[in-house]
């Protein structure tokens, strides 16, 4: 420490003619250095946090298995209740199942860990890294759940789909949208303690526009319409996702800093 200080001062003495010039440049260097450093850290932070989430989930498997069972039993309940349905209802029912599944799966993403541990993360990593890792994790979880739900649903509940690849793309887009929108809402409702009801109240209005577009897009896929008809909807979905993601990244630090 002492040696370093001496070294620093000697450097200052040696570079006195340059000191003014350096002083002018210093803020610039500082900014550049900070940005590049935090950039490197940021990706690594997100990666580590994501790995932590997955490891935690894998260790207990409680939430994962619970939600998987929830999906399958909901599908089965719907099948028993309806037996055979009109394609429009089939489609709507699938999205409603997915909606409730996603709310169930994501609502606990911030309440699982204790306050003390979250405080510990706060000292280690940036808030954006936390929200981004949670979003990525929830999107992955939703992709898995939606795929399982789709296969279970379409095997139990037979129905003709005109354009299966497009339908599957819709499901992927849907799980990405649910994941991004619900992560932020679960963060907000976790701060308000009574998560269950509040989560539903806060997330439904945010998800309704997404669901409207998703149902339209998947209906296009079921009818096997020309792909170019659906580009508008895909664009809107991507735009909504981008907006929600940006707003989440901007706002999450304020939730976090308590």
């Amino acid at each position: 420490m002492r040696a370093r200080r001496i070294q620093e001062s000697s450097v200052n003495v040696l570079l006195r003619p340059l000191s003014l010039f350096l002083l002018v440049l210093r803020p610039l260097c500082y900014v550049r250095k900070r940005v590049s450093l935090s950039d490197m850290n940021f990706v690594r932070q997100v990666y580590l946090l994501l790995r932590k989430e997955i490891t935690l989930e894998w260790r207990s498997k409680y939430a994962l298995n619970g939600v998987l069972l929830y999906v399958i039993s909901t599908v089965f309940v719907c099948y028993q209740a309806f037996k055979s349905v009109h394609p429009v209802i089939w489609n709507a029912l699938f999205w409603i199942i997915l909606l409730f599944t996603s709310i169930n799966a994501i609502s606990k993403s911030f309440t699982q860990e204790s306050k003390a541990r979250q405080l510990y993360y706060y000292t280690l990593v940036s808030a954006q890294a936390i929200i981004l890792s949670k979003i990525i994790y929830n999107v992955l979880l939703m992709l898995l759940l939606a795929t399982v739900a789709f296969f279970a649903y379409s095997t139990i509940f037979r129905n003709e789909i005109g354009d299966p690849p497009l339908y599957f793309i819709t499901i992927l887009l849907g799980s990405i949208s649910f994941g991004t929108a619900l992560t932020m809402v679960s963060g907000i409702s976790a701060k308000a303690n009574n998560s269950g009801t509040l989560m539903a109240i806060l997330s439904f209005p945010v998800l309704i526009p997404v669901i409207i577009v998703l149902i339209k897009l998947s209906k296009n896929a079921m009818d096997g319409l020309e792909r170019s008809v659906s580009y508008d909807e895909i664009g809107v979905l991507l735009a909504i996702n981008l907006i929600v993601l940006t707003v989440s990244l901007l706002l999450f630090p304020y939730i976090w800093r308590d």
Binding site: L198, V206, V236, V244, L251, I255
Partner: protein, 217 residues
């Protein structure tokens, strides 16, 4: 006098729009007939609502950067008054729809969008009630308010344009073009919009000042 000249302006403009709205000549159009006069009352409600929601989101952002309770109070009061204007917009719209479209609630994307947007702002108020601690309530609800705003924009302005809608300006229908709004209508419509917006702001400031006194005591 200098500080509140705009309140006289607001009252004057609204009076003018009511008198002008009922008495001035209007173009005769097939389905609308005399109901076209509702343009002067129905649409300004939505303009006022949007203005109030914008004020609310601006003050929520300000709250997050400053942490002053004043900003939070103004944000919540704007939402309160905005919801009232939304209610009036829906009522005038339903009366109008009953006459021209045959039913008070046709399945129209703009109607559904505005209903869902209202749900979102009601959820904002519920969220506020769920939080007891003042600082935390202000912060978390400000975050939700900012989060909800872009979704509201998507609901009211983007989705209706993608699908078929009965409203003008959506689904390929022309917006207020030269065809259905002539000079006399514009002369009443624009003052009406401005007047109702100012009335909305006026009510908000009154409620805000009342709330501020309440809070300071």
């Amino acid at each position: 006098m200098k500080a509140y000249w705009w309140k006289f302006l607001a009252a004057g403009l609204v009076f003018y729009s009511i008198i002008g709205g009922f008495l001035f000549p209007v173009p005769e159009l097939p389905i609308l007939h005399e109901t076209i006069r509702n343009t002067y009352f129905h649409i300004p409600m939505w303009f006022a609502m949007i203005l109030l929601y914008v004020i609310s989101v601006v003050y929520s952002i300000k709250y997050l950067s400053s942490g002053e309770t004043k900003h939070d109070l103004l944000a919540v009061e704007s939402v309160n008054v905005g919801i009232i204007f939304c209610g009036f917009g829906l009522i005038t719209g339903m009366l109008w729809a009953d006459v021209t479209w045959g039913e008070p609630w046709p399945n129209d994307p703009k109607l559904n969008g505005s209903a869902i947007a209202t749900l979102m702002y009601l959820a904002y108020l519920v969220l506020r009630n769920a939080l007891d601690e003042e600082q935390k309530r202000a912060k978390i609800s400000a975050i939700y308010n900012i989060f909800a705003f872009p979704v509201m924009i998507v609901l009211l302005f983007i989705l209706p344009r993608l699908t078929d809608s009965l409203h003008p300006g959506n689904g390929g229908n022309p917006a207020f073009s030269n065809l259905d709004m002539d000079g006399t209508m514009r002369a009443v419509f624009y003052p009406a919009v401005l007047g109702w917006m100012l009335i909305g702001v006026w009510i908000t400031t009154l409620r805000y000042r009342y709330r501020l006194i309440d809070w300071e005591q």
